[in-house]
């Protein structure tokens, strides 16, 4: 079963769109949990690009990298949410506007 060439271009489209949406959300949203979700979006965009490259050039290394990225993303989300829980315990809110004490 062969691939048509256009799905490469569509994959690039989706990957870059997801990455830019994730980047914008990361910079503009004020709710810490949604910011973490946008980080996940960025990681998934990179996963899509890695898998597309790996399947296009028929090398398995891309898929192995995706396995590692998924694992690290899972661990990072868990620790990030632990930190968010602590922030909530300290201030009663997770709105990023209220965490300004390190500002100079």
């Amino acid at each position: 079963m062969k691939f048509p060439l256009s799905i490469t271009y569509w994959s690039h489209f989706v990957s870059v769109a997801m990455f830019s949406l994730g980047l914008l959300g990361f910079l503009l949203r004020k709710n810490t949990i949604v910011v973490l979700m946008c980080i996940e979006l960025m990681l998934n965009a990179v996963n899509l690009l890695l898998i597309e490259t790996s399947m296009r050039t028929n090398t398995p290394e891309g898929i192995i990298m995706v396995v590692f990225v998924v694992t690290v993303a899972a661990a990072e989300v868990a620790v990030g949410l632990g930190i968010v829980l602590n922030l909530y315990r300290m201030k009663g809110t997770v709105n990023l506007d209220h965490f300004k004490s390190l500002r100079g």
Partner: protein, 169 residues
């Protein structure tokens, strides 16, 4: 046929991703995240990696987003006016970032052949062999990393009770 499905899943994924960024209620954001992961899984299936599609659903939607939903429900967050971003800013900057990134990506991946290779049949076997022979070192380091993360999570979210009553974090 396959291209049609690919276009449908692509648009679905992008719509769900914008739902994550633009939604006011964090529970709706989590739900849109689930939908976007479904779309991505469909894209992986259309590329021929059934294994990665199932891994995506199993780990991302089945565990990571569950964690997000748990935390959102535990914290019982209120939906207020300041939590949704300015749609115009997001739209314009999103389009600009997308445009420039797509150009950069196209320039960097110029050597695209005219036809793409067929789907390999014993993909899982190849990946597993490589994981345990050539990439054994990162694999083992990753398992140690996960153990350290588990201990770190316990250390971060622990609350200790002091004898006079009340809690110390």
């Amino acid at each position: 046929m396959r291209e049609g499905l690919f276009i449908a899943f692509s648009l679905f994924t992008i719509a769900a991703a914008s739902g994550v960024v633009l939604s006011r209620n964090p529970v709706y954001s989590a739900f849109s995240l689930i939908l976007s992961f479904f779309g991505l899984s469909g894209l992986y299936l259309l590329w021929g990696t059934t294994f990665m599609a199932m891994i995506q659903i199993l780990i991302y939607t089945g565990a990571i987003v569950v964690l997000f939903v748990f935390v959102v429900m535990l914290l019982n967050l209120q939906v207020n006016k300041e939590s949704s971003p300015n749609f115009l800013i997001v739209g314009i900057s999103g389009a600009a970032v997308w445009f420039f990134s797509l150009i950069i990506l196209r320039v960097l991946t110029q050597a695209i052949p005219n036809t793409l290779p067929a789907i390999p049949t014993d993909q899982i076997r190849t990946i597993s062999k490589l994981l345990f022979t050539r990439y054994l070192w990162p694999f083992e380091v990753l398992s140690l990393f996960l153990l350290v993360m588990i201990i770190a999570i316990f250390a971060i979210t622990r609350t200790q009770e002091i004898p006079h009553g009340g809690e110390k974090q």
